[in-house]
Subunit: 413 residues, 2 copies
């Protein structure tokens, strides 16, 4: 079912919902630049809570730029937002999305450092999945000339998070070892590349078997996510590892802590294990919260261990560490320009294909980043596809990984 | 009571216990170099479990040096060992003490890097409080020519711990802020000095009021340990601090975490709040263990915080990180030679005065380090002293801080 679901352009033709069609037609026909296409989340739950619709065009306030969006990043966190299993869920309806890139179209008052026509990437606290985004220049960065929009949309969140975890929180140095869960994901691939910028770093990656051929060269040792990785890592490195990066949470916290060397650091940067089925929401969140192993600081004392949490979005939007993130972005763009790092793009999707894209990330089928390409027209329906069957998949409690990697060639350059 | 206790040389004349006196007399008279004076802990509990006695002279094994001890460090941890409130209590009887300094007297086979006559400081896993110590060269470091034995005994454990916490675990950098509990203690003073080697670091110190005149110049802001320090720090720095160093544990863990800035690090390096009365042991240990606030990693994720534990002795003797500690010691000796750091010695005590010294550290009366000076004769009994009353103090549940700082002039140079 899931495999089919990934291939289907489910609901694609119906995403612009019928009750809005008159309004939309009016807007499309008027095309007066006062409205824009967005992905809208109308409630917490399954894929059917998402639709493409129109929304009033924003204009830049003081200190903001208005960006004509070319591409947006799609992250596992967006799926958790859709299900409502995050700490501070947004007010609904909301336009999801935390990162985008595009071209500066206009500039608010008292806004310095950017000009109309600049190619930029930006963080936003929601509202990224739209044709136009306005955001404070605190969260906007100029793109290198060589960087494509697809790369830029795959760059900001994942590389900044990976860099800050490795170098700000954990102090990665020559000769250390890093274990990364979800090594095939977009953060995992960023972590692997950044580790390769430091001499003699050993990377242990954990990923689903079907991803191994594609990512085996990016890490030193690769393990299947279904095996006893604690045992396997200890066979290779009996002392353990210096850094563990965990986006899963749950039982992996205790396992990962047990794998740390003295003075090693465990960093939790996500809780994707909270997502099981398609529509699970509060119950699985609460269960995961309580099931996660609490850590006794005295145990850390006895074992000389460090445990950290990292959320780039909270750092940016709750804790206002824009200057720090900007300095990290500068270092990262330096590494990009030196061709030491390069974002891995899994696939590009039309805005109208956001559900299929989300299903793919839910099924953990991606290798690298999923991108919403704002200018891309949706893939035409195949004769075998049927929008009538698509709803069934949304009630599935458990979906298996999609082992069939969909090839989509980037066409943004 | 405590104040009296600190002034009394309680039991000093009786420390060499009567049942051993014949044997001791024999040994003293023979003085054949086959035995040495040591402090012995015969059971877990109050001060009366300690006595000075004789023990067979050790000889250096392969890779060891034999050190004629000049001075030993006395730490709060020694008090916890005496009470048995540590994770892995030693087998009894045991000679306490984890650090000493002195002169290399002989060298075992296959031992490189040291010569007879070298002035050295050393870590040992117990057995430091003795006239002679044998230990692996992994734990031995040459003393700078300018360093006195009193300074050396005050140097190794506290400065290495302070340095590793600030620079290995927490990555202290320019412009950061550090909160240190027990700022008047020997680790606290080492922390303050090491912070001053980095530009523009703000140090918030917490200490008993009576220590403030002596240590106020070593930190930026100083607070009484009985006030609401969370509030006071936030008045000065609403954002909080970058690093908290906590040797108390208990309720301070939650308070300290709440004071951390985003990406800030809380380090627990002791649990001195476990020590209340003179003889409390397992019950208060278990109580403190369970009362300490467990930390949910998901909370760390939401708040971008880091929590760490640090135990130098576990790092050295359980986790065998001798090379790392050696490299840290080299950096520290560089700073000492540049006169950027200098150990603060609170007082020197004869071996026979170990109980009074321990009472002083229990009462948190010290500013800087307490030293056992092996060559120092015990202070003669004053006419007003009475060994008959000394036992009473040992049953006290709570003792107040000793505000009367005892002046003892160092005579080791």
């Amino acid at each position: 079912m899931a495999k089919e679901g990934c291939e289907m352009t489910e609901e694609t033709q119906h995403m612009i919902e019928k009750q809005l069609s008159k309004e939309n037609e009016h807007v499309e026909s008027s095309c007066d630049g006062k409205e824009m296409r967005v992905v809208m989340l109308s409630g917490f739950g399954g894929l059917n809570k998402l639709r493409v619709t129109k929304k009033a065009m924003p204009e830049p306030a003081d200190g903001e730029v208005k960006i004509r969006v070319k591409a947006c990043g799609l992250n596992f966190l967006d799926l958790m937002v859709r299900q409502g299993i995050i700490d501070s869920p947004p007010k609904l309806p909301v336009v999801p999305g935390f990162e985008c890139c595009g071209i500066v179209e206009s500039i608010g008052e008292n806004t310095e450092g950017f000009e109309i026509g600049d190619r930029v990437m930006a963080f936003v606290n929601y509202n990224a999945w739209a044709e136009v985004v306005c955001t404070s220049v605190d969260f906007v960065y100029k793109m290198p000339d060589e960087m494509s929009f697809a790369e830029a949309a795959a760059f900001s969140l994942n590389y900044v998070a990976a860099y800050m975890m490795l170098f700000e929180v954990a102090n990665l140095r020559e000769g250390m070892s890093v274990l990364v869960h979800s090594a095939g994901g977009s953060v995992g691939q960023a972590v692997a590349q950044l580790c390769s910028t430091v001499p003699n770093v050993t990377v242990f990656g954990i990923a689903s078997c079907f991803k191994h051929p594609s990512i085996k060269n990016s890490v030193t040792h690769l393990f299947d996510r279904n095996i006893d990785y604690v045992h396997e890592v200890k066979v290779i490195s009996p002392e353990g590892v210096d850094i563990v990066l965990d986006c899963l949470s749950g039982e992996n916290t205790g396992k990962s802590l047990s794998l740390l060397k003295p003075l090693g650091t465990y960093i939790l940067y996500g809780a994707s294990n909270m997502v099981t089925g398609e529509t699970k929401s509060f119950f699985s969140f609460a269960k995961s919260w309580w099931q996660v192993e609490k850590v006794n600081p005295i145990k850390l004392y006895e074992e000389n261990k460090v445990i950290a949490g990292f959320s780039l979005l909270n750092l940016l939007f709750k804790q206002k560490k824009c200057d720090l993130v900007k300095s990290v972005m500068e270092k990262l763009l330096g590494l990009y320009n030196e061709q030491k790092i390069k974002p891995v793009v899994d696939s590009l999707w039309a805005v109208e294909e956001v559900k299929e894209a989300m299903q793919r990330i839910h099924d953990r089928g991606n290798i690298g980043k999923l991108i919403l390409d704002v200018d891309k027209p949706p893939t035409p329906l195949m004769a075998s596809d049927s929008t009538e069957t698509s709803e069934a998949g949304e009630e599935e409690e458990e979906t298996e990984g999609d082992n069939d990697i969909k090839e989509r060639m980037p066409f943004i350059h």
